[in-house]
C-alpha cells in the first residue's frame, strides 16, 4: 500500500517533472552552451567561440549605455511606484463611502496587458491624436514633444509604467495594511501619537514584508523592461532608451548573433541572481 502510494505520487508529478526538464532545465543548459559558441541565427552551432562572446559584450558600444539607462530607469520607477502605491493603499484602506470605487479605479489599468497599455500611450502621447497637446493649448501652454527628447521619452515611459502597475502594488500593500491589528493604532493613539507619527512609526515598520515583496517585484520587473520601450520609444531617440533586454533582442534578431545574445543573457541572469540573494538577505535580517 505505502509503496503503491509512492508510485502514484511520482506518476502525478511526472508531467510537471518532464515539462520542467524539457522547457526549463534543457534551455538553461543550452543558453550556457550557446554563450560559449559561434552561433549565427540561421546557420546554427559552428563550434566553440570562447571567450570572444563574453569579451565582445564590453566592446559593444550600446552595452554600457544600456546598463546605465536600465539602472537609472529602475531607480526612478521603483521610488515613484512604491511611494504612489503606498498612498493609494492608504486611501482605499480607509473605510469611507466611495473607497470601493477608488480601489476599482486605481486597479483597472492593471487588467490591461503591458503591450496594450504601451500602444494606448503611443497614441496618447502622439501629436496627431493625443489629448495632451489640446489640453496644454487650452490652458495657454506650448505643446510638448512627449517622446522627442531622451529625457521626455524616459519620463513619459515612467508615467506609463506607474499608471499600469500602481494598482497592482496597491493591492499587495492593502493586504499588508489589513493584516495590521487595529489595537496597535489604538495603543499608539493612547501614547499621544498623531496620524503622521503613527503612520511612520507603526504602519511602515509593520508593512515591511509587503513593502519587501513590492520592492523585489518592481526592481526585477524594471531591470527586465522590454515591451514598453520596444513599442513606445523603439529605443529612441538616438538609442537613448535602449534597455538590456532590448539589447539581447537586437543582438539575436537584428544582428543575427545568438551566441552574443546568449552571453548577455547569461550575464543578466547572474546579475539578477546575485541581486535577488542580496535583497532576500537584507529583508531577512531586518525582519
Amino acid at each position: 500500500m505505502r509503496h503503491s502510494r509512492k508510485l502514484a505520487g511520482a506518476l502525478y508529478a511526472a508531467p510537471v517533472a518532464v515539462f520542467v526538464l524539457v522547457f526549463f532545465v534543457a534551455p538553461l543548459l543550452l543558453v550556457g552552451r550557446m554563450s560559449a559558441s559561434d552561433w549565427p541565427l540561421l546557420a546554427g552551432d559552428r563550434g566553440i567561440n570562447l571567450p570572444q562572446n563574453y569579451e565582445g559584450i564590453a566592446d559593444n558600444p550600446l552595452f554600457w549605455p544600456a546598463v546605465g539607462f536600465t539602472l537609472k530607469y529602475t531607480g526612478i520607477v521603483v521610488v515613484i511606484l512604491i511611494g504612489l502605491s503606498l498612498l493609494l493603499a492608504v486611501i482605499v484602506a480607509d473605510n469611507r463611502r466611495g473607497s470601493g470605487f477608488f480601489r476599482s479605479a486605481y486597479f483597472l489599468p492593471t487588467t490591461l496587458g503591458l503591450a496594450s497599455a504601451s500602444l494606448l500611450f503611443f497614441g496618447f502621447y502622439s501629436p496627431a491624436i493625443g489629448p495632451l497637446d489640446p489640453l496644454l493649448e487650452w490652458v495657454g501652454l506650448e505643446p510638448v514633444s512627449w517622446l522627442g527628447t531622451p529625457n521626455a521619452a524616459l519620463w513619459s515611459t515612467v508615467a506609463l509604467i506607474v499608471w499600469k502597475f500602481a494598482g497592482f502594488f496597491m493591492i499587495i500593500l492593502l493586504v499588508g495594511l489589513q493584516a495590521i491589528p487595529p489595537d496597535v493604532y489604538e495603543a499608539a493613539r493612547l501614547d499621544g501619537a498623531n496620524r503622521w507619527q503613527s503612520f511612520w512609526h507603526v504602519t511602515v515598520p509593520l508593512l515591511r514584508p509587503a513593502l519587501g515583496l513590492v520592492l523585489i517585484l518592481s526592481v526585477t520587473g524594471s531591470l527586465l523592461a522590454f515591451d514598453q520601450f520596444f513599442i513606445l520609444t523603439k529605443g529612441g531617440p538616438d538609442n537613448s532608451t535602449v534597455t538590456v533586454v532590448q539589447l539581447i533582442y537586437r543582438e539575436a534578431f537584428q544582428r543575427f548573433d545568438l551566441g552574443a545574445a546568449a552571453a548577455i543573457s547569461v550575464v543578466v541572469l547572474a546579475a539578477l541572481l546575485v541581486l535577488n540573494i542580496v535583497q532576500f538577505r537584507a529583508l531577512r535580517r531586518d525582519a
Partner: protein, 272 residues
C-alpha cells in the same frame, strides 16, 4: 471642523487620482470611435477604425482566433499540469519531491529573455517554432510556478477526512481526485485559469520572438505591427481600436471575477 477638512481633502486627493487613472482608459475608447484625419473615421462618430482592423492584413478575426487559441491552450496546459502536480505535492511523498518543487519555483528567478533565446533554437529543432502550440507551451512554462504553488496550497487546505472516507468506499487516488478533490479546489482552479488566460492573452515578447508568420500573429504583435506599416504614416485610430479590442476581455473578466484577482495577489503576498 478638523474631521470635515480631513474628509474634504481625502475626497479631493482620491478623486483627482481616480481621474488620472481613468482618463487614459476613457480616452482610448473615445479615440477609437471619434473622427480624425488620416484614419478610417473621417466624419462624425462611428466604427470606421474597427472596420479597417477587420480588413488589415490577415484580418482582425484571424488575430482574435490566434490569441484565443493560444490563451485557451495555455490555460488547458497550465491547469492539467498544476492539478496533477499540485495533488502530488500536497498529498503524496515520493523521491525528489522537494527538489522538483524548488526547481519549479526557480523558473521565477530566470528572466524571460534568457530562456527565449535557447527556446527559439530548441523549438526549431522539434518543429514547434512559428507554431501556436509551441508558443502556448512556452507561455505555460511561465505560469507554472504560480499555478503549481497555488494548486498545492489549495489541495493542502482540503480536510484529509473527506479523502479517507472515499478511500474506504474503495475509490482509488484518481477517483478521489476527479470525483471529490476537484470540486473542493475550484476557487484555486478559477484563479489559476484567470491568471494564465490574462498572461497568455497579453504576452508580447514570446510571440514576437517565436512566431514569425503574419497569419499566425497574436493580437498584441499584430496591432504593434499595424502601427509600423501603412507607408510610414501611423493609423492611430485603428491602433486605439485595437487597444480596445485587446482590453475588453480583460475588463469583462475583471468585472466578473474581482474576488479571484485579490485572492491571487494574496497568495502572491504569502509567497514572498
Amino acid at each position: 471642523m478638523s474631521t470635515k477638512l480631513w474628509s474634504t481633502s481625502y475626497y479631493v486627493l482620491a478623486g483627482s487620482l481616480a481621474v488620472l487613472f481613468l482618463f487614459p482608459l476613457i480616452w482610448t475608447g473615445y479615440a477609437s470611435v471619434a473622427p480624425h484625419g488620416a484614419t478610417n473615421q473621417q466624419d462624425g462618430y462611428g466604427f470606421g477604425n474597427y472596420a479597417s482592423l477587420l480588413e488589415y492584413d490577415a484580418g482582425l478575426l484571424q488575430y482574435l482566433w490566434n490569441s484565443t487559441f493560444v490563451s485557451v491552450l495555455t490555460v488547458a496546459f497550465t491547469l492539467a499540469l498544476s492539478i496533477a502536480g499540485g495533488y502530488a505535492f500536497a498529498r503524496f511523498t515520493f523521491r525528489g519531491k522537494d527538489t522538483l518543487f524548488l526547481l519549479t519555483l526557480a523558473i521565477l528567478m530566470v528572466p524571460y529573455s534568457t530562456l527565449l533565446i535557447p527556446l527559439y533554437s530548441m523549438l526549431g529543432d522539434i518543429g514547434l517554432r512559428d507554431s501556436l502550440i509551441g508558443l502556448s507551451l512556452v507561455l505555460t512554462l511561465y505560469q507554472l510556478p504560480f499555478a503549481v504553488f497555488m494548486m498545492r496550497i489549495s489541495f493542502e487546505a482540503v480536510p484529509k477526512e473527506i479523502e479517507e472516507s472515499a478511500m474506504c468506499d474503495g475509490a482509488g487516488t484518481f477517483g478521489v481526485l476527479t470525483r471529490i478533490m476537484l470540486f473542493a479546489v475550484w476557487p484555486g482552479l478559477i484563479t489559476v485559469g484567470l491568471f494564465s488566460f490574462l498572461a497568455a492573452w497579453n504576452d508580447f515578447i514570446a510571440p514576437l520572438i517565436l512566431v514569425s508568420s503574419a497569419d499566425k500573429a497574436v493580437l498584441p504583435v499584430a496591432i504593434a505591427n499595424l502601427r509600423q506599416q501603412s507607408m510610414g504614416a501611423v493609423d492611430f485610430g485603428a491602433t486605439q481600436a485595437g487597444v480596445v479590442v485587446m482590453a475588453l476581455p480583460c475588463l469583462v473578466l475583471f468585472a466578473l471575477l474581482q474576488r479571484h484577482y485579490v485572492r491571487g495577489f494574496m497568495s502572491g503576498a504569502i509567497k514572498g
